[in-house]
Assembly symmetry: C2
Homo-oligomer: 287 residues x 2
């Protein structure tokens, strides 16, 4: 087996049922140097304790997932989302400071879907833009980069009204310097403008995170879990990875896979498979 | 109940289990003036007989579905696709000539997915562009408009590598004057560039067909059948319809719904529901 890429990061969602301690241990034991954390397992032990454990792990943190859900109408629900996202920004700053050098203070943002019963996609998109703009100064003062993640258009109605990389870059540009974008192969691989928009994001210094997993065919019945290990699907990782590299991205590359079979497998086995698939399909194009 | 819009066309796929005679009768009996035909029910009675029956029906034909499937590698499979599409062009011309005045000699093209085992999305897209370009002179000489239909990105791997309206317009522009695009709300409603691209297609005179059905949430397990009657989902039909109208489209508007529950309902009931939903959600924005 070849050496594990130093830029590989295991996103904790790939071993969803692991608690924070387990996730940190599994990652380190697999020889992976970086981890993408999620807020829920952090909250389960409390932020202060999570900060200590991340520091003890010796791992870098590549991002915290996730803030967002910005599509509520102005009023209490929108205020609640703003407050929660400010807490998520604070958590991101604390955890990144605790991680090994090279950790990234990046908070991944999922836009949220249209409110129940609404058909106003355009209005929802305008609210996302406005709320991220309102949040940017707080992120800037905390030294945190907000990373707008476009989700595959299949999720446009109910999970994320940000559907393309180009749209995410537009939002980032409008919001300010502390807002970037996530390039997640699963969500953007189909986009005819993908390579142009990766280059544009690079020129603007807006690529905050690069995540990889594969698109499976046939599309599984449970759409949300239809993500595959690199090599199991239809995505050609080399050209996308080269484009992200050429665009100037030098950070960690997260493997984030929502897939019930992978969740049900032993964590150490999953981490080893992630490292191997990353080495085969992604790492060669990073150099 | 209000009068049925004269521009409503019932796409035969909405009453999938009806043979040609039944589809023509159900459409006419519902007071709908136009029908979108499919090749298989035409082939079941033979083209000459189908031409007679369409002529007898007094209905307009708004389009024939469908040609395409252009992603095979050069060689026998690609040649077979070209031959089949030339036959489809001939069928389109014959059926449109048999339909009532105002019939449209429009052949809807579905691009096809990546060949089995391939990960070369870019190559597949290039072949689609090239094959449509090769087909255009034959369509032009037959007086048939080829209508490239972008399919929702969920189908990019296995059904259609043409994923956005902008990409479809690019293909049409490169291919020649007898190639246009289909605007199908289900496939394009999520696109942040939708309104710009509808306007662009209009300026170029490339809107060959406008089809409507709704996007359901949650997305059904059988993705291909996740289309809904207008009003049952998340699409706001008025602004899209106004944009298509403003772009200069004056043709029939097809209701095409792939949905098992609708297929299982009595045909006459489905036609009546189509007319009612069209009157409520689409027709007011056509004026």
């Amino acid at each position: 087996m070849s050496a594990i890429s130093p830029r590989l990061s295991l996103n904790q969602a790939t071993i969803k049922y692991a608690d924070l301690d387990t996730a940190l241990r599994v990652t380190r034991d697999a020889g992976i140097q970086s981890i993408g954390l999620w807020r829920e397992p952090v909250a389960a032990v409390g932020l202060d304790e999570a900060v200590r454990r991340v520091a003890d792990s010796g791992l870098r943190m590549s991002s915290l997932c996730r803030g967002g859900f910005f599509t509520a109408m102005p009023g209490q629900a929108q205020q609640t989302a703003l407050d929660d996202n400010r807490r998520a920004i604070d958590e991101t700053a604390a955890l990144a400071a605790a991680g090994a050098p090279g950790s990234a203070a990046v908070l991944v943002l999922v836009a949220g879907g249209m409110p129940d019963g609404s058909r106003d996609l355009i209005g929802a998109r305008e609210r996302v833009r406005d709320v991220i703009g309102a949040l940017e100064p707080y992120a800037a003062s905390a030294g945190v980069m907000l990373a707008v993640e476009p989700l595959h258009p299949i999720f446009a109605a109910d999970r994320a009204v940000v559907s393309t990389l180009g749209q995410a870059i537009d939002i980032a540009e409008a919001a300010g310097d502390s807002v970037g974008v996530v390039v997640d192969t699963y969500h953007v691989w189909w986009d005819p403008q993908l390579f142009d928009q990766i280059a544009r994001a690079g020129r603007l210094g807006r690529i905050a995170s690069y995540q990889v997993c594969d698109w499976l065919v046939p599309v599984p019945a449970e759409n949300l879990l239809g993500r595959g290990m690199m090599g199991d699907g239809t995505i050609d990782f080399a050209p996308v990875t080269r484009a992200v590299t050429k665009a100037g991205y030098v950070g960690d590359v997260e493997v984030e896979i929502f897939n019930q079979q992978i969740w049900d497998a032993p964590h150490a086995e999953v981490a080893a498979r992630v490292a191997e698939a990353f080495g085969a399909f992604v790492a060669p194009a990073l150099d």
